[in-house]
């Protein structure tokens, strides 16, 4: 038998976790208008995937994990985030 994990059940250590790129499900992605972002961090707090990252002067999504749900765009008080369809 070829096993990928030593655990009997759905457990894993944090250091050797099996990485699933949830961003592969996305059909739309959030794009930050850098000039409008006030770095308030609401998108960081609300993001269900925990994939918002603080860059220099603005927040943006780690697209490996962002599922494109759009919660960040909805809660952004500065209306700095817009959603763009992946095919565009």
């Amino acid at each position: 038998m070829r096993f990928r994990t030593d655990y009997e059940g759905p457990w894993g250590s944090c250091s050797e976790r099996i990485d699933v790129k949830t961003g592969e499900w996305r059909f739309q992605r959030p794009v930050t208008k850098v000039a409008k972002c006030r770095e308030c961090g609401w998108c960081y707090v609300y993001c269900p995937s925990g994939c918002r990252e603080l860059k220099e002067g603005y927040f943006s999504a780690n697209l490996d994990y962002c599922k494109g749900c759009g919660v960040c765009a909805r809660v952004c008080p500065a209306k700095a985030i817009m959603l763009v369809r992946e095919e565009d």
């Binding site: 655990y7 059940g9 759905p10 457990w11 894993g12 099996i18 699933v20």
Partner: protein, 400 residues
């Protein structure tokens, strides 16, 4: 009253016997929601905690789904846990029931078995527990109040074994056993501590701040999912032999055992074997004794462990027997028979020499009695089939 071993001897109903089994096993967290015929078990445990006899968190949830769900949390944190329920309470736990098994959490749950609606009935049966037989838990069915108590202690030993790590059900018919008072001998605490010592310090994955872990991640790839399922099945296979070992060790401490996966009663020289599961077994044993006095070579097998089904043990005992009559207090709808019979039918096809007669008797549904007369009919009918008379494979006793 005390036995010569210094054990308390009491007259206890099945639910109280279960409560004493839990008390002796010293769980960390208990959560029960009342439902007939299980309620007095939760009440007894609350009393033990209130009186300071049991150092456990006793949580009163708003329903059965929460009762089991919060135990999942407690078990994931490494605690020893207990809950109990019946019938619709068990149905209401269904998603948590499956989650427990898939997460490989060693939770122990007593089921005071009751018929499942519809038709409505606050009456004994096995249908509730039997319907979740494929939920990935280990299931035991008890015959007496003493067996309920001892089975709960053995359940923790089995569930928490590092090679098993599976939840365990101890099932017993409501009313017949939950409320029937019988003589029960209660093992001393030091005896139970010694018996459970091997799992008291066993390590299993748990969530804690010192060593953060990932648990039950939602998006796991298919091959890993397959691996967990495979390991779960493999653990269930190991549980059979482990159950026999644990029973033998229990016997070395208590002085009595239950035979592990199955109990064999006068089967050695028997040509006809009756198969039972649950509280009807006691009645059946009495009838077997009478028939033995009349010179018939008839014996009995009691299925204790229904999940996983005790395949090897049964094949060993039943090899070269001439006729088998299976009494079922439950219904396998699509099979038009009982569940134990259905299992036996597929199992016995593995024998080199087929057993000439295999019959099923559906009895005791909806809280009706499995009487000595009905067991006698089972034996007589099985013998008449052996003598060449044509008998239907499945007989619904009270309808004929």
């Amino acid at each position: 009253m005390e036995s010569k071993e210094g054990r308390q001897v009491m007259v206890l109903e099945g639910n109280l016997a279960a409560a004493y089994g839990v008390l002796l096993s010293k769980p960390d967290v208990i959560s029960c929601f009342p439902i007939t015929p299980q309620s007095s078990l939760g009440e007894a445990l609350s009393r033990f905690v209130a009186d300071g006899l049991l150092d456990a968190e006793m949580i009163e949830p708003e329903g059965e789904n929460s009762a089991l769900s919060l135990l999942i949390g407690a078990s994931v944190a490494g605690g020893r846990t207990f809950t109990s329920t019946s019938s619709q309470g068990l149905s209401f736990m269904y998603d948590a029931y499956l989650f427990t098994a898939g997460s490989r959490l060693p939770i122990v749950m007593a089921i005071a078995m009751r018929e499942q609606v519809a038709p409505h009935g606050v009456i004994a049966g096995q249908q509730d527990a039997i319907l979740v037989k494929d939920g990935g838990w280990i299931q035991f069915y008890a015959e007496s109040c003493q067996e309920i108590l001892d089975s709960i202690i053995m359940a923790y030993r089995l569930a928490e074994d590092p090679e098993i790590l599976l939840p365990v059900n101890i099932c017993y018919e409501g009313f017949y056993l939950s409320y029937q008072s019988q003589r029960v001998e209660i093992l001393r605490q030091d005896e139970v501590d010694r018996f459970l010592a091997p799992v008291a310090k066993s390590e299993r994955p748990r969530l804690c701040l010192e060593n953060p872990m990932v648990f039950s991640s939602y998006t796991i790839p298919g091959e890993l999912y397959t691996e967990y399922r495979y390991k779960h099945c493999a653990a269930l296979q190991r549980a059979r032999e482990k159950c026999d070992e644990i029973d033998r060790e229990f016997e070395s401490i208590s002085g009595y055992g239950y035979g592990g996966q199955i109990e064999e009663y006068k089967t050695e020289d028997a040509e006809v074997v009756i198969v039972t599961m649950g509280s009807g077994t006691g009645t059946a044993k009495g009838v077997i004794d009478t028939k033995r006095d009349e010179g018939l070579k008839v014996g009995l097998i009691k299925i204790r462990m229904f999940r996983p089904f005790p395949e090897e043990r049964l094949l060993q005992v039943l090899n070269r027997k001439k006729a088998i009559g299976v009494i079922d207090r439950n219904v396998f709808y699509a099979g038009f028979c009982g569940h134990v019979f259905f299992e036996m039918k597929s199992l016995l096809s593995e024998l080199e020499q087929p057993i000439p007669v295999l019959l099923n008797f559906v009895a005791g549904l909806g809280g009706s009695d499995i009487t000595p007369q009905s067991v006698e009919r089972v034996i007589d009918t099985t013998y008449s089939a052996l003598d060449g008379k044509t008998v239907k494979p499945v007989t619904w006793l009270s309808l004929e």
